[in-house]
């Protein structure tokens, strides 16, 4: 869609403080030529969606290891819809039980990357989906 650089928002929803994965991923994406916006810990769904809209990102990457995904993700997806930003690709990663993934995908989360997946896989997925 966009002809320019791929822009990604890496977001840490909820009270989760695990940021090692998010930061590693942010760096890997930077090194892959993406523009990565990182907003820090303790982001509410509202903050994530507003930031994504203002920054006109192609991708939102949610990183969550606190088990609160089933509560937070539906809210984020709903707000995205309300903001007319369904075109943004949403992916997620972290400690998310296998059995929760189908429901998250149904909400519109395109792919969930669990521990041990190489960052290159997420990067490849983004390239494939948003081009450039």
């Amino acid at each position: 869609m966009s002809e320019g650089r791929i822009r990604v928002l890496i977001a840490k929803p909820g009270l989760d403080g695990h940021d090692r994965g998010a930061k590693v991923l942010a760096r890997a994406m930077r090194d892959a030529g993406f523009e990565v916006i990182y907003t820090g810990l303790r982001q509410t769904p509202d903050q994530i969606v507003s930031a994504a809209v203002q920054e006109d990102v192609d991708v939102i990457g949610l990183s969550i290891l606190s088990g609160a995904h089933n509560h937070l993700f539906p809210r984020i997806m709903q707000l995205l819809e309300e903001a007319g930003a369904e075109h943004i690709l949403v992916i997620a990663g972290g400690v998310i039980p296998e059995e929760d993934i189908p429901a998250l995908e149904k909400l519109g989360v395109s792919r969930v990357f669990t521990p041990g997946t190489p960052t290159s896989e997420a990067i490849g997925f983004i390239r494939e989906r948003v081009g450039a």
């Binding site: 650089r5 930077r30 892959a32 916006i37 903050q47 809209v53």
Partner: protein, 321 residues
């Protein structure tokens, strides 16, 4: 993009629709062909905002200060646009844009619009798209637009060309003398603020700044004012904002604002032209097969003559296209 789509975009911007503002800025950043039309269309609606540049070394607290200034502006019922620039990696072309981490709770205020940008190709200077983003935010009728630069190299000088008021941020402990003298920084700032005044050494920086100013050659514009603040503790920010507003009012009365605006327009035109020239010539010069380098090394042409040749070619193309 059809003309009417651009018109729709412009009215979306004027209605302050965040998605449209965002998209417009991306078009400009990505240099989409329509962005030139967009900027033309926006032009009549620009010029109404107070553009404040915030520059200073990385880590000096520019983002934190931007956050605090914005909050005070909001208390004064002013709408705010923020453009925050971070460096693009010269190796990958990617960037880590982290200024928003300091502005978390502004994200959901509908009267605040924050946009992060990489410097992309702009050689350490202000991202070219900053000029465009300012226009978009002006058209969205933001009362104040804060531009946070990367704070290194050319950007410090560039900011003076786009802002109505330039705030230069200093901090204690970063090689106090060097900071002040570097790049004649005291010459581009309208306000010199010593941030992190909660840390030891702040008053020393203030006095170094004062003596630097005393030694500086007289200039046409009024001498910069010195202030101190602790963005972290939100101390002195209110006063800083008063000074910022005062500067703008004085500048308007004295005609300085007009001068600045003219400089900004000039810089913009120059930038557009320079961009155009380099786009044409870069294509030619990076082509290894057309033999320009061989001709040069064989002594058939000099660099000057080659440039002349390219220039004529370019003029020819321009008049055709």
């Amino acid at each position: 993009m059809e003309r009417c789509e651009i018109d729709a975009m412009i009215s979306g911007i004027r209605d302050n629709r965040p998605g449209t503002l965002a998209r417009a800025i991306s078009m400009i950043e990505d240099e989409e062909p329509d962005s030139a039309h967009l900027l033309e269309g926006l032009h009549p609606f620009t010029g109404g905002s107070h553009v404040v540049g915030i520059t200073g070394p990385p880590g000096s607290g520019k983002s934190t200060l931007t956050d605090r200034i914005t909050k005070h502006l909001r208390k004064r019922s002013k709408s705010v646009g923020v453009v925050a620039v971070d460096p693009t990696s010269p190796f990958s072309g990617g960037a880590l844009l982290g200024d928003r981490t300091r502005m978390g709770d502004l994200a959901t205020d509908p009267e605040v619009f924050i946009r992060s940008m990489g410097t992309r190709g702009s050689l350490g200077g202000l991202s070219r798209a900053v000029y465009g983003a300012i226009k978009v935010l002006e058209a969205a009728a933001k009362d104040v637009i804060l531009v946070e630069t990367v704070g290194v190299g050319q950007s410090e000088v560039d900011i003076a060309r786009v802002a109505d008021t330039v705030v230069v941020v200093f901090v204690p402990g970063l090689g106090d003398d060097v900071q002040a003298i570097k790049a004649g920084i005291t010459e581009i700032g309208d306000l010199l603020v010593v941030n992190k005044a909660d840390l030891p050494g702040a008053s020393r920086v203030e006095s170094v700044l004062e003596s630097t100013l005393n030694l500086a050659p007289p200039r046409e514009e009024p001498a910069p004012k010195i202030a101190s603040a602790s963005a972290e503790r939100d101390e002195g920010v209110e006063e800083l904002l008063d000074l910022i507003e005062e500067h703008r009012n004085l500048a308007r009365e004295s005609g300085l604002l007009e001068l600045r605006r003219r400089m900004r327009a000039r810089a913009e035109i120059t930038a557009i032209l320079a961009r155009r020239v380099s786009r044409h010539t870069e294509g030619y010069l990076s082509d290894g097969d057309n033999g320009w380098y061989r001709r040069l090394t064989r002594g058939e042409v000099s660099p000057g003559e080659l440039a002349e040749e390219l220039w004529s070619k370019l003029l020819g193309q321009e008049s055709e296209g």
